[in-house]
Symmetry: D2
Amino acid sequence: MNTIKIVIAGPRGRMGSEAVKLVTNTEHFELVAAVDHKNDGMMLSDVEGFQSIPSVPVYSDIEKCLQNIEADVLIDLTTPEVGMYHAKTALEHHVRPVVGTTGFTKQDLDKLEGLCLEKELGCIIAPNFAVGAVLMMKFSQMAAKYFADVEIIEMHHDQKLDAPSGTAVKTAEMISAVREGKKQGHPNEKETITGARGGDYDGMHIHSVRLPGLIAHQQVLFGSDGQTLTIRHDSYNRGSFMSGVKVAVETVMKNNTFVYGLENILD
Amino acid sequence: MNTIKIVIAGPRGRMGSEAVKLVTNTEHFELVAAVDHKNDGMMLSDVEGFQSIPSVPVYSDIEKCLQNIEADVLIDLTTPEVGMYHAKTALEHHVRPVVGTTGFTKQDLDKLEGLCLEKELGCIIAPNFAVGAVLMMKFSQMAAKYFADVEIIEMHHDQKLDAPSGTAVKTAEMISAVREGKKQGHPNEKETITGARGGDYDGMHIHSVRLPGLIAHQQVLFGSDGQTLTIRHDSYNRGSFMSGVKVAVETVMKNNTFVYGLENILD
Amino acid sequence: MNTIKIVIAGPRGRMGSEAVKLVTNTEHFELVAAVDHKNDGMMLSDVEGFQSIPSVPVYSDIEKCLQNIEADVLIDLTTPEVGMYHAKTALEHHVRPVVGTTGFTKQDLDKLEGLCLEKELGCIIAPNFAVGAVLMMKFSQMAAKYFADVEIIEMHHDQKLDAPSGTAVKTAEMISAVREGKKQGHPNEKETITGARGGDYDGMHIHSVRLPGLIAHQQVLFGSDGQTLTIRHDSYNRGSFMSGVKVAVETVMKNNTFVYGLENILD
Amino acid sequence: MNTIKIVIAGPRGRMGSEAVKLVTNTEHFELVAAVDHKNDGMMLSDVEGFQSIPSVPVYSDIEKCLQNIEADVLIDLTTPEVGMYHAKTALEHHVRPVVGTTGFTKQDLDKLEGLCLEKELGCIIAPNFAVGAVLMMKFSQMAAKYFADVEIIEMHHDQKLDAPSGTAVKTAEMISAVREGKKQGHPNEKETITGARGGDYDGMHIHSVRLPGLIAHQQVLFGSDGQTLTIRHDSYNRGSFMSGVKVAVETVMKNNTFVYGLENILD
């Protein structure tokens, strides 16, 4: 396999620092530069936390970076506003973007897709890089064709503010897109304690558990006559995102299309 | 072990017919009569469904039964009204009652306790004979002393009308009795779908899952810094109640006290 | 939807009697005859256990049955030898077979496939009709492309003689077909109690749990950096097979190809 | 509640550094000194990693430490050899030891117990401070009285060398101590893949799962007619030990006895 030359934007962030580890520890990946709004002109190995990393230059301006450095892929783990500009600039320099930020508008996505077509280059935008979570959602959508009844239980640490989690809502949306609407449970069921039956999303029920100790877990339960099918994902730390980044980098080199969502490259 | 002579009241009910199987299949148990508001004067082996059972007489009147038959224990699986009369009559005939019906009043229980003391006989009243479910509740109460945070997830078939289940509420009551009140979850947590965080019982959250295929399941989750402890009971059929009936019959022969609740004889 | 006219072969077997219930309870299905080596010439509603079933004739000879009865689909739940003959005869009478027996030889399958092509008719042979179990295996195979590490835990009642279960071995085979061989666990791992690490299948580990109370359960666990993905199927009773029979009957009417394995019609 | 003055021995170790956090973050606990074979004479806040800690002196000699510092409790998280000397010296200075090291001999334990009696002081030695794990073992032992059949599944990351885990073996020992020996599974069961039924400990089966991503998890499954009871502990990080240290410190101040094993103070 040819070595893939990679620029990482946002190396000091939580995801970014994991990505630096991933790239420098993967045999056919090579880190060639970093883009960081701080530390312009330094070597990455002189930045705190990166002492043991091979020496590559840091640029604050992606334009300048890609003029000076030959790269195959840009891994962007910054913010939506910056990510959009980075992805656009990368494509113009014939570098394939793998972008892990959320919040792109429909207009942004259309513009990037047009640019991919024009340049005949691949580009992958993925709000969630955890392969296991993405497979859980994909399998849930597939199973929903054969199981009309489903409930989602998501479980997180008790510092989480919102319930249900974004992943639970995304899962429910994906299931909803394929199943015929169904109001689940007994038509005459009755809550003796309000809320016991969870939140209702298009007839499905979602339950949010919050406990200290928990990290990020979700199970999707399907039931039909005499059987249940359960799909569960447990995320223990951010390392879980890196397998998705790896798959995305390898895939973006092979195909010349625009892809939104990791689920569309896992088959 | 001496053989224990047993009368069963309510042999044709769902629990009663399981109890007939239990008693006739247990080496040191002997079925000596049945009490049934129908079939008075028949042999049990002539009643439909009991053809393969040893021949014992059926009485519709417990008074008459205990005048004619020497017995050690009455297993009563009828109804609260009948059960109270049966238990009282049994104690007066020096027979120890094991009663599996719910709905006794405080007054009923006090009266039976008094009679036990007077006669120096044991008596066990147990609303739930599933040893596993009773242990789950007992362990949950014990764990709650060391884990301030707990959530209950109960899961049943979708023909169940009420949510949460009686067992879930009983579990929450038992936990509530030992822990300092605590409003769980983040103080600022927010439901974007109403009900997602489940039902609130004294600061604990209870979640009721309903799916076809499921039978009767409950898990109690405790969390604290860096760890979770889960206690789960799965009930697949009514056979699950019979281990509790067996323990109760053996225990009622050994001690001469009144006991309400199987949890008080499992140590 | 047009009503589908169905003949059931093997109506008195455990699967067969469930199939009779399924067909008579499904709106667009119609039971038109039964094939049974006993009870030739009787009406099915006169056979013990079928009193409440609509009256349809019973034939012991499928040839004679299909000469007299107009049918769309044959559901065969007999034995491999009989099943082969039944499927062949059905196709010759322009009836589409849905066969739930295992043990067909490669030669049998080839012959049936040829006949399907010739007659331009669909035919589905499925060793396992439990949709949930089949999806579990299918999803496991898909996940194995992204997770190099997997262990299988199957759990059954303690009357089961063989370990691991057929489903566990089938799952391991399907995973093995797509993943690069990998010897899992630490290279220097050491069992202090022999067998603790389970059975080895192509580097994967399989664990067989046997306990009274359990029915038929399996979970497939995948792990990678910072995350695990678990796919679990619980089968509580034979009703679980009927959703697969239903899907197969509906599918065999729509396409004119030969299919072996339910996983190939669930997409 | 009175403030408890605490000396920590082994502050730079993995457990020790967590204990420093615990003590400095608990309202009624006060860190008064540290014992460390390095850094004698320094202030703890000058040692790397403890900059944000209140300033307390470091001693390399416990004797000297306890001559100069008034303390109620010594938390020792060093090694068995050192731990024994530390515990003995603490008792002689009227300081109650809470020791978290394993490997004490029977003779060591007897000597410490004698010293406790003589000095009328409490002392707690606990090989495992994870309250959840200790409760899992305790509950398993209690459940084993009512469930003759049990299997243990322990699951760890794939860098673990030994199988089964120490906790699994300890659990099996504790169960074995109360149940009548039983060879589980079907008498004629047969492994088609060697090891599938796991490791045998006194008739129980133990299964060790190893996968990247996993941390430290164990479930104990009990089965009987129609039901299963599962007790599960998940440990995500070393924070899980600290709740046990806290309970031990509070308990050792209240009672004047020698205790070996956290399970004996959790009731």
